[in-house]
């Protein structure tokens, strides 16, 4: 896959921190999914999280928009600290868009309604404005012509692009991607990655859990390697792939590359 892609521009200045995690722990029963995670992500930064399955990658980004509640430590998004306060949670969710492995489009709504739902319900945009915004976002992911269809009538790649448009319609400051291409047929992966690359070049702050090393090489400012609930190694893609320091990283890279 990497051979067909040309994502050269990977160097971008990282601004102020927009996401901060301090000493975050997460338990599922007795199982510790996250162990003392510390992380600081700057504005417009693209961070790719890789690692073996069960290593806590998904749990990590799900803690950032509170789909999972962290058990210890602090999670701050754009200066708002996540707590049990529902208003804080809503505010953070308004600023973070999320794209899931299984798309999770709403099957009973048309593509357009999927995208306008949150702007109308949460940001209280009038219908007309919301639809205009939605069409802009659908153009951005290159499927404005599918607006009146239902998700079930689209291919997997198209569905995932609608899911990206749905998240973008809330005009978030951060986009979280949870293995966005893992459920796709190989020939559809590129169309989704292309959209994500454009998004990165447009200056979106992104945290991407993925197995697409080509994508990581091309657009990531930093690559984070997670295993057993810990951050094992962090580095720029050049260093990370060419010269990994930790044994676990070397083992993992040797298995997938």
């Amino acid at each position: 896959m990497t051979a067909t892609m040309d994502y050269s521009d990977a160097t971008r200045a990282t601004g102020e921190a927009i996401i901060e995690l301090e000493g975050v722990d997460k338990f599922f029963g007795d199982f510790q999914a996250l162990k003392d995670i510390n992380m600081r992500i700057g504005q417009q930064e693209v961070v790719v999280v890789i690692g073996p399955s069960g290593g806590g990658k998904s749990t990590l980004i799900r803690c950032i928009n509170r789909l999972e509640k962290h058990d210890a430590g602090r999670v701050m998004v754009d200066g708002i600290e996540l707590s049990d306060d529902l208003r804080n949670i809503q505010e953070v969710r308004r600023e973070t868009g999320m794209v899931f492995q299984q798309f999770n489009l709403f099957p009973h709504l048309t593509v357009l309604d999927n995208v306008t739902l949150a702007p109308r319900q949460v940001r209280k945009l009038p219908k007309r404005d919301a639809e205009e915004l939605a069409m802009q976002m659908l153009k951005r992911v290159k499927i404005p012509e599918q607006a009146r269809k239902y998700p079930g009538q689209l291919s997997g790649g198209q569905q995932q692009r609608v899911a990206i448009a749905r998240a973008l319609a809330m005009q978030p400051k951060v986009m979280l991607f949870d293995e966005p291409t893992s459920a796709l047929d190989p020939e559809m992966i590129k169309e989704v990655l292309d959209v994500m690359v454009e998004l990165a070049h447009g200056g979106m702050t992104m945290i991407v859990v993925t197995h697409e090393m080509g994508f990581a090489r091309a657009v990531a400012n930093r690559v984070v390697f997670m295993a057993d609930g810990e951050i094992v190694e962090v580095g720029t893609p050049e260093h990370f792939f060419a010269d990994p320091q930790e044994e676990r990283t070397k083992l993992f890279l040797s298995q997938i590359l």
Partner: protein, 415 residues
């Protein structure tokens, strides 16, 4: 060591496809002596049974149905007030017409928007779809003694057709209010029956009462069932415990027990002047009973909605209440339609249980007419009970077919 190449047996001799009925019969019915014997014996029995049925159908004395048709249909409704049930019937045919037309127009518009071809249902298809109902109407009309009911029925069909086309041509802005038209028509039907010196449901009987108890029962029970289902999933232990206790107690008891409780316990607890009529108490009992079953049906639907749907709604910032209303419930309720129709069919049949308390619904009516002096001791139970059975079968069968159709259309279970 050498590995022997596996020896494949020759392909089994091809089973020759049967040619024609004679060949088929020889292969399947007469392939050895005892099968031949069995076939012959069964054939004799089937022919004998069919002949007996035909003879019974044509020699039976249908006068008992003819004379009591009004009792079967509307119970003891005053004979000089017959315009009332007819007016209600017209309200409902118009209702079905408008709703059907508006739904069809909605499907047409959605298909056009999505750029898909829309296949319109033809009149012939509708007749084929509802042949049991059409047949039942013909049978019932054949028992009438004057021409008026036939004319009124034709009028009702014309009204339904007119309403259907009206529903199709309604502008979109008005079509959104079809449900309101439906509510107005239902209220109008009730006013026609009960208003201005008519008879309220306390005095209804016959098929009219069965239909009323079934429809009112399921419709009023639905919101309660929904609340119970949501209560069962509530994070608050008090609400959850109350819901689970209620559902499990009611589901563990036969409907007849709940009806008897409604008749006697409610009557005992409430002072005589405030006591609702017997039919009202039956309705309350039915609602209490159905709510528990609907709760379980809805629970199944809620469980069918994947967790990812809730997460996606949360991730875009929808509040829990909006997530439930806009994302979970629309999908959950769609998934429950087949089970809900099944529940309705069984309730429709179970409304006959109120006969035990001396309410003259259809089944009770077909029973008591045999003690009229003209028919006493003539053994016409088979005739009258068959009539009741036919009515219930047509209703249940049609609904179950329609529900399967709807299921296919909504793609329930295909996701």
């Amino acid at each position: 060591m050498t590995v022997e190449a596996p020896v494949f047996e020759e392909t089994p001799p091809e089973v020759e496809p049967a040619r024609g009925a004679v060949d088929w019969a020889r292969k399947n019915l007469f392939n050895n002596w005892y099968n031949s014997l069995l076939t012959l014996a069964l054939a004799v029995f089937v022919i004998w049974a069919l002949l007996a049925l035909v003879r019974a159908l044509f020699s039976a004395d249908y006068e008992i149905i003819q004379a009591n048709l009004r009792l079967f249909m509307i119970g003891g409704f005053p004979a000089d007030q017959l315009w009332r049930p007819w007016a209600a019937t017209y309200c409902f045919t118009v209702l079905f017409g408008v709703v059907g037309g508006s739904l069809s127009a909605g499907a047409r518009d959605r298909a056009t928007e999505a750029g898909l071809p829309h296949v319109r249902t033809t009149f012939r298809q509708i007749v084929i779809r509802f042949w049991p109902i059409v047949g039942l109407i013909v049978v019932i009309l054949s028992f009438t003694t004057t021409v008026t009911p036939t004319l009124l029925t034709i009028g009702a069909l014309v009204a339904a057709l007119g309403a259907y086309y009206l529903g199709r041509v309604l502008p979109r802005a008005i079509r959104r209010w079809t449900w309101l038209i439906a509510v107005v028509l239902i209220v109008a039907a009730y006013v026609a029956l009960a208003g201005f010196g008519g008879v309220g449901w306390q005095g209804w009987g016959g098929l009219q009462l069965n239909l009323f108890l079934a429809f009112a029962g399921i419709l009023i029970a639905f919101p309660f069932g929904l609340l119970l289902a949501l209560g069962r999933r509530s994070p608050l232990p008090v609400i959850r415990t109350i819901s689970v206790t209620y559902i499990e107690i009611v589901r563990g008891v036969p409907l007849i027990t709940v009806l008897l409780a409604g008749a006697f316990a409610i009557g005992f607890l409430i002072p005589r002047d405030l006591r609702p009529s017997l039919v009202t108490r039956m309705l309350i009992a039915i609602i209490a009973f159905e709510a528990a079953y609907i709760a379980e049906v809805v629970r199944g639907g809620l469980q069918a909605v994947p967790r990812g749907q809730v997460e996606a709604a949360q991730a875009v910032g929808l509040t829990p209440w909006r997530t439930m209303r806009l994302i979970v419930l629309p999908q959950a309720l769609r998934a429950t339609i087949p089970a809900m129709v099944g529940q309705f069919i069984s309730l429709f049949k179970d409304t006959t249980l109120v006969a035990v308390l001396g309410i003259t619904e259809l089944l009770d009516a077909t029973f008591i007419v045999n003690s009229q002096s003209a028919y006493l001791g003539k053994g016409l139970f088979v005739v009258t009970l068959s009539f009741a059975a036919l009515v219930f079968w047509v209703g249940s069968y049609t609904m179950s077919r329609e529900s399967r159709r709807l299921e296919r259309k909504l793609g329930v279970g295909e996701r």
